[in-house]
C-alpha cells in the first residue's frame, strides 16, 4: 500500500528528552492515530515530519518522496546525497518538502493565526499560500462552523479556533491531514461534527490522516492504526482492530492472574499485568484464546485508553 507518510528511525535529542528511533506510517486510505502521554514526543515527531525540526537521524518520506534524510533507491540527486553525507544529521530537502506541504492540511494544538487577524484575513493568507486553495470551500466550512468573516482570531474560543484551523486545513483539498489534538477543547457535539468531517474526508481512498490525540475514544471511532509513543519511544504500533476486537483485559484475582501468566498460552512478554486495590488486570493479546483456556475468568473488550495504560504501566509478563 502507498504510504502518504513514512517515518523511519527518527531520532532527536534535547536536554532531558530523546526521540528514540521513532517509525510510523500513514498508508493511503487510512487514519493513523498517534497517542501518548504529555511530553511523550508526539508534537516533536509531527514537527520533524513537517520540517520544522531537523532530526539527528532518520528518514521522512511524504507521498513517496524523501523530504528528510536519504534512502537507497530514493529520488535524491548525487549532489543531494553528497550534502547528506557531509553531515551526520539528515538533510531536509526543501523543494520536495514545499511540494509535499502543498498537499497537506495541518492543525496544531492551539489556534496559530495572528490574534488581530480576521477570519477573512486567514482566508486571504490561505489563498496566497496554497496553489489549490478553494475560497468557496473555506467559506462553506466557515458557515458550517459559524465563523463569521469579521470575527477576530482573538475573539474565538479554543473550540472555535480549532474549527478555524480545520477549515483552513481542508480548504485546499489536501490529500493528507496532520492533526495535532484537533478535537481537544471541543464539546461532544462539535467533536462528533469534526469526526464526521474527517470521515467525509476519508471517503476518497487516496487520502490519509495522521491524528495525534489524547481523546482515544475518538480514535476508536475513526482510526485504522494506532501508534503509541512514550518517553520518545514507540511502545506499540498496531491496528485498532487488534486492540478493540482481538485483545482483551481480564479483571481477576491474584491467583487467576498468576495462572494466566504461567499457563504458557501466551508468548512470553505479550501480557501486561497490573495489580489494583481490588483486582488484577491482565491485558491479553487474544481474548478469545483466554476465554477458551480460562472460561471462568471474565475477559472484556479493551479500550485504547486501557490498552495504552496497561501497555505503559503494566508489568510485562
Amino acid at each position: 500500500m502507498y504510504d502518504l507518510v513514512r517515518v523511519e528511525n527518527l531520532a532527536k535529542a534535547y536536554p532531558g528528552f530523546t526521540l528514540d528511533h521513532v517509525s510510523l506510517s500513514v498508508p493511503a486510505g487510512c487514519v493513523t492515530g498517534f497517542i501518548g502521554s504529555n511530553g511523550a514526543g508526539k508534537t516533536t515527531t509531527i514537527k520533524t515530519i513537517l520540517g520544522l525540526i531537523r532530526p539527528s537521524a532518520g528518514n521522512v518520506a511524504l507521498f513517496g518522496e524523501p523530504v528528510c534524510g536519504f534512502e537507497e533507491g530514493g529520488e535524491l540527486s548525487t549532489d543531494q546525497k553528497n550534502v547528506a553525507n557531509a553531515s551526520s544529521a539528515p538533510q531536509i530537502h526543501e523543494a520536495a518538502l514545499v511540494r509535499a506541504k502543498a498537499r497537506i492540511g495541518v492543525v496544531f494544538d492551539a489556534c496559530p493565526f495572528p490574534s488581530e487577524s480576521l477570519v477573512s484575513d486567514v482566508e486571504r493568507i490561505g489563498r496566497f499560500a496554497f496553489p489549490t486553495w478553494d475560497r468557496g470551500l473555506f467559506e462553506q466550512y466557515a458557515r458550517q462552523f459559524d465563523l463569521g468573516a469579521k470575527k477576530r482570531v482573538k475573539e474565538l474560543s479554543r473550540g472555535m479556533g480549532m474549527k478555524l484551523q480545520l477549515a483552513f486545513a481542508l480548504a485546499h483539498a489536501p490529500e493528507l491531514l496532520i492533526l495535532d489534538e484537533v478535537t481537544a477543547g471541543l464539546d461532544p457535539m462539535a467533536r462528533d461534527e469534526v469526526l464526521d468531517i474527517l470521515r467525509g474526508f476519508m471517503t476518497d481512498e487516496r487520502r490519509g490522516i495522521l491524528l495525534s490525540s489524547h481523546i482515544t475514544s475518538d480514535l476508536e471511532k475513526i482510526a485504522d492504526y494506532v501508534v503509541c509513543i512514550d518517553a520518545g519511544r514507540v511502545m506499540f504500533d498496531c491496528t485498532v482492530d487488534v486492540i478493540c476486537d482481538v485483545a482483551g483485559v481480564a479483571r481477576c484475582g491474584a491467583e487467576q492472574a498468576r495462572a494466566i501468566v504461567e499457563s504458557g498460552a501466551f508468548a512470553p512478554g505479550s501480557l501486561r499485568v497490573m495489580a489494583g486495590a481490588y483486582a488484577h488486570e491482565v491485558l491479553v493479546p487474544d481474548r478469545a484464546l483466554l476465554s477458551r483456556r480460562f472460561p471462568k475468568v471474565a475477559c472484556e473488550r479493551v479500550s485504547i485508553d486501557d490498552y495504552m495504560r496497561l501497555m505503559l504501566k503494566g508489568e510485562a509478563r
Binding site: R54, V98, V106, F113, S115, D121, R124, I125, F128, A129
Partner: protein, 237 residues
C-alpha cells in the same frame, strides 16, 4: 516568497493602518514644533517600516504563528527572503507616502499663505523655506536609518526570535560600536582608503549622495539577508 510577502502584509494590515495614522499625527506635531519639514519627512519615512520590523517579528511568536506558517508550502528561504522583501516594500511605500504627506503640508501652508497673506500660520512650512531636495534627502536619510537598523536586527531576530533578540541586541550593538571605536582609536582603519578615494563620488553632483543613501544601505541589507538565510537554515521552530 510571494505567499510570505502577502502573509506579512495581510497580518500587518491593521497595524499598518494604525501606524499610518500615528505617523501623520506625530509628523505634523514635529513639523509644527520645529518649524521645518526635514524632520517631518525623516520621521514619517521611518516610523512605519521601523515598527513593521518589530511588530511582524513579534506576531511570529504569538500563538506559534511562525511555526505554523512554515507548515504551509513555504521554505525557510521563502520566509526569510519574504520578510526582507515585505519590509523593503513597506519602506519604499512609506517613503513615498511620507514625501506626499510632507509636500501636502507645504501645500496647506501655501494655501493658508495665499488666503491670509503674510504672517499666516505655517509660514515656516512653505516650500520656499523647505527646499524639495532637503525634504527628499531627509526622507531618504530616514529610510537609510531603517535599512541599516533592520540589517543589524533582522539576523538576530531570525536566529533567536524577537524575545531573545531584544535581549541580545543591545549587548551585540554595544560590542560592535565599542569594538569599532576602539579599533578606530588604535588607528586600525588608518590608510584603509587612500586619501581622496571618495572624492570622485562627492565631486559629481548627486552620485555620492546616491551611493550613500541607496547603494550602500541596499548592499548592507542584501548582506544581512544572506546572513539571515544562513542562520535560519538550522533553526528549530
Amino acid at each position: 516568497m510571494k505567499a510570505m510577502i502577502f502573509s506579512d502584509l495581510i497580518t500587518m494590515r491593521r497595524s499598518l493602518i494604525q501606524l499610518l495614522v500615528i505617523m501623520a499625527v506625530v509628523s505634523l506635531v514635529i513639523a509644527l514644533s520645529v518649524d521645518t519639514l526635514a524632520a517631518t519627512a525623516a520621521c514619517a519615512a521611518t516610523l512605519v517600516p521601523f515598527s513593521f520590523v518589530f511588530n511582524a517579528s513579534a506576531y511570529d511568536e504569538v500563538n506559534n504563528w511562525g511555526s505554523f506558517r512554515l507548515a504551509m508550502p513555504m521554505s525557510r528561504r521563502d520566509v526569510v527572503a519574504g520578510r526582507y522583501a515585505s519590509l523593503l516594500l513597506v519602506t519604499v511605500l512609506s517613503l513615498g507616502m511620507s514625501l506626499a504627506y510632507t509636500f501636502a503640508i507645504t501645500g496647506v501652508a501655501a494655501l493658508l499663505a495665499g488666503v491670509m497673506g503674510q504672517g499666516a500660520p505655517l509660514e515656516s512650512l512653505l516650500l520656499e523655506n523647505n527646499p524639495p531636495e532637503m525634504i527628499v534627502a531627509a526622507g531618504l536619510a530616514g529610510v537609510v536609518a531603517v535599512l541599516v537598523a533592520a540589517s543589524v536586527t533582522l539576523p538576530f531576530i531570525m536566529r533567536f526570535d524577537m524575545t531573545l533578540a531584544v535581549r541580545v541586541l543591545p549587548f551585540a550593538t554595544l560590542c560592535g560600536v565599542g569594538g569599532f571605536c576602539a579599533a578606530a582609536g588604535n588607528g586600525l582603519f588608518d590608510g584603509l582608503l587612500p586619501a581622496g578615494a571618495l572624492e570622485p563620488l562627492f565631486g559629481s553632483g548627486y552620485a555620492g549622495l546616491f551611493v550613500v543613501l541607496v547603494v550602500v544601505p541596499l548592499a548592507l541589507y542584501a548582506a544581512s539577508l544572506a546572513i539571515s538565510l544562513r542562520v535560519c537554515r538550522s533553526r528549530e521552530l
